[in-house]
Symmetry: C2
């Protein structure tokens, strides 16, 4: 470490303040500890006499923001291509794979989904000791590499950057990984095709992935999934903001289990109890009563359901909206349909690369949709199911298999993976759903489906306190617990409707994934609270 | 209700499906109930013989999305001006105030912050009964009004639309308010100037406001505050997205009280216990360890502090970000400073109207800031305080009065309401804060202030599992509870720093408001869980 002295640990003479004797002693102790840590690292630096590479490789002291650091521009792996051939670059990236072969060491460096090959060859400037050092670095360690970008005669197989490799002149460990990894990124990234015997045998199972989520998340498919998820949120908000919606934040801690009381988590709240909101339902309606006219909110919602299925979480992200209308809730329903279509178009146009990355690992049929979206009446859906031999009563809800079957029928008939089912039976909807004035067994409510699974539930809400009270009574709800909700409609409220979308479900179904745990960064279910 | 038959309730002959006898009976019952509700409303419709206005006013049946409704375009109150003079319009708005004077009735209609005067005069098309009906409508009821836009010779005092009034031809109640309001919007909107005896005497107190939040939120200042709050969120996300950040969602339910254990809410989680996250700290760092490089998250955070102050809530909205850096945490700190400056500029440029609306009620000094933001060392801040006679020890935190005093000193010296205080004592920061390698009593941490109050706390985090373990032990933290956190750094992690911003505080302090409950739509404190 002579020429380009990279980072120094503490207690150097040029520190800004004059530290006291005691301070210096403390600092010295810290410094020694840091050195000990470095030497304890997975990689041991052998001292070799007359090492031509001395000062060109090794373990950097922990980066702690000292005042003297090199002025150095780093190049991103994704930008390494033959236009940079001949140029000297610094790259900070993970060691993805390493193969030492006597006087040569081949390293693949990874930065997010991008990979590039680096070679360390014994030469008159690169010592055997340096090659040996490189060969012994643990996978997943973060390295600073100085290298010359060199064009290669034939494409580098298995790397995203195929037309160049890095001929390495310096190699420093910024952050070491333990040598034993609980899962290999290569394995966790392997395509999951059922006909591929090798990939089947070394597939990393879901729990291993989730137990080691920070490693699992480093795969290209996972990098892509969560960029797409961020995209869904952004598109949802952008479209609504464009249409005059105001974003609000609703409390998660509530005083009463207002939506019927079942499946609600209890919180100790100072000397009493409170509950975790199952949805922002009541609060977004109160915002409508408070003249915000069109509101949306993105936030955590909680369900204390002991369901261990592929599509239930105990905590998920709700994309909720609520909107006043003039005469008919279809003003809102059709608007929401267009919001979803807008999101699908945005994903298709802005996230083609990411969708491709997910497809490479998991495969999937591209997501299809119509513009404007298909709207079916619940009764029509029932008729289509009956034709396929599945009878659903007029006041009965669709169960999951029926939903999926209907999705397949709709897809075959209309070639769309997205549709709206309107006019659900009143009996299967929450108490605050507006009954249909023209057909007493139905209600002004709708669900929306992606690939045959429900992603949104919505309705016209009752904005009249007397009818609301009547319906709450009919549902056996304790009126004293929803007093402040009912009171919200006593001082004039416009007719309104809305809906709630489960973010993780939208992403799962858009991408054709098989489990909602793949689209929650740190999923929560009845059995999983960590990490 | 003859000519322009507006809305009909259920069970009319032209319903789409052929309902059964039983259905019809049920529907009839519903319909009768609805009529009863209408006649129970605050306003009684007197039957007057030979009423020339018959069918031009009354109480509409509850809007329940029947299939026959008028095709009618509505005009927004804010768009009513003399360019529309002579035009016939329909307006749906609240009755803000009403004054009947014999053969005339003056009504002010309100839509969000916009108001317009409507007059109902006895004439050959407007009956005495209609004027009487208008005079008796409760404030805050929602009305459909048909009228001719009419230019007025002198400005209408007290209305936002000053150059026109509405000469009314039809008047229907869409949604009635109870006649007794727990607070008047006029009172709740009154300017709060200390020298104004009248406004002092009828000021609506905070608890009355919060108990009746849906009314309180209808004031122009509140409409503006929550549009500004949505703006802060939007600007925060836009700036970060532009800079390559990925939005993530972190769990609120966590398995261990990871940040020290105090002030955490306990949740019953199936057969065990869990906790509500005090911040997304650990998860956003795990996202960095998982190669997301730059992340942000907007969501609820929970503090079980029994603090009943003007600036504490038990639940608030955190704007959190975390970012990998190359050599020095100032790369991140200065970036965050610029994010905040970007937000201030965005508010100034895009929300001038809303800022004005808040100012009209609460008054305030405009918010000042520098570009780039002022950065002071903690030691410099201490020195400035010492000069003002307030001694703070080198390892001591600033208390609230000291923070406020320092804010005033800084404002006087630099003319900025925003500044960054860098290099806090190590002793007063959380265990995961990186110690300063060049000065053992300080740390690589910073707070940011608006008008002398802290709005952001941030730091370089320890990305080395051994140093992190050491520091956790030093803080007496149960290592078994933070195992999955510490493990996150065992497989290589880049140096990183970040910070967390309290949304409600930013809005409160930007607007110079005196209480954080003014910037939380439905605030939660140790004593308030409703509405």
């Amino acid at each position: 470490m002579v020429e380009d002295k990279p980072i120094e640990v503490a207690a150097s003479g040029d520190s800004v303040k004059k530290p006291s004797k005691k301070d210096l002693k403390k600092a010295e102790k810290e410094s020694k500890k840091a050195e000990k840590r470095a030497s304890n690292a997975a990689v041991k630096l052998e001292v070799v006499e007359d090492d031509v590479s001395a000062g060109k490789y090794g373990v950097l002291p922990l980066i702690r923001s000292t005042s003297n650091f090199p002025q150095r521009a780093f190049t991103n792996v994704k930008d390494l291509n033959k236009r940079l051939a001949g140029k000297n670059v610094w790259v900070r990236a993970r060691l993805h794979t390493v193969r030492g072969r006597g006087k040569q060491c081949f390293v693949v460096l990874r930065q997010k989904e991008f990979t590039v090959q680096a070679i360390i060859n014994v030469s008159n400037t690169v010592s055997k000791a340096m090659v040996k050092f490189a060969s012994s670095i643990s996978k997943e360690s973060i390295l600073d590499v100085e290298a010359t970008v060199t064009e290669v005669p034939s494409a580098v197989a298995g790397c995203s950057q195929q037309d160049v490799e890095l001929v390495t002149s310096q190699l420093w460990i910024v952050s070491s990984s333990l040598p034993q990894l609980p899962l290999l990124i290569e394995d966790a990234s392997r395509p999951e095709k059922n006909d591929d015997a090798e990939s089947l045998s070394i597939r990393v199972n879901q729990d291993t992935r989730l137990d080691n989520r920070i490693l699992d998340l480093r795969t290209p498919a996972n990098q892509a999934i969560f960029r797409i998820e961020a995209g869904v949120c952004r598109l949802f908000r952008e479209i609504l903001t464009e249409h005059g919606f105001t974003e609000i934040h609703t409390p998660k801690i509530i005083s009463a289990a207002s939506e019927g009381g079942a499946n609600v988590f209890t919180v100790s709240y100072f000397k009493g109890n409170a509950y975790l909101a199952q949805s922002p339902q009541l609060y977004k309606q109160m915002a409508i009563a408070a003249d915000f006219e069109k509101v949306f909110t993105v936030g955590a919602v909680f369900r204390a359901e002991d369901s261990n299925t592929h599509r239930h979480l105990t905590e998920f992200t709700g994309l909720d909206l609520e909107m006043a209308f003039k005469y008919h809730y279809h003003e809102v329903m059709l608007f929401i349909g267009n919001v979803l279509t807008g999101i699908f178009k945005g994903l298709r146009d802005q996230f083609a690369t990411e969708i491709g990355m997910v497809g490479q690992q998991y495969g999937m049929e591209p997501f299809t949709f119509l513009e404007p979206p298909l709207v079916l009446k619940y009764a029509e859906g029932r008729a289509m199911l009956a034709e396929a031999g599945v009878e659903i009563g007029p006041e009965e809800d669709l169960n999951t298999p029926a939903e999926k079957l209907l999705g397949r029928i709709v897809k075959a008939k209309y070639d769309t993976d997205f549709y709206i089912l309107d006019k659900y039976p009143l009996a299967v909807r929450p108490f605050y759903t507006m009954p249909d004035p023209e057909d007493p067994i139905t209600s002004n409510s709708y669900d929306m489906f992606m690939r045959g699974e429900e992603i949104l539930s919505g309705a016209q809400r009752i904005h009249d306190p007397e009818l609301l009270t009547e319906r709450a009574k009919h549902h056996g709800i304790d009126l004293s617990k929803i007093a402040s909700y009912i009171d919200s409609f006593k001082y004039g409220c416009p007719p309104h409707a809305g809906g709630g979308i489960g973010l993780e479900r939208v992403v799962m179904l858009y991408l054709g994934l098989d489990n909602i745990r793949k689209t929650a960064m740190f999923p929560r279910d009845p059995k999983r609270l960590t990490p």
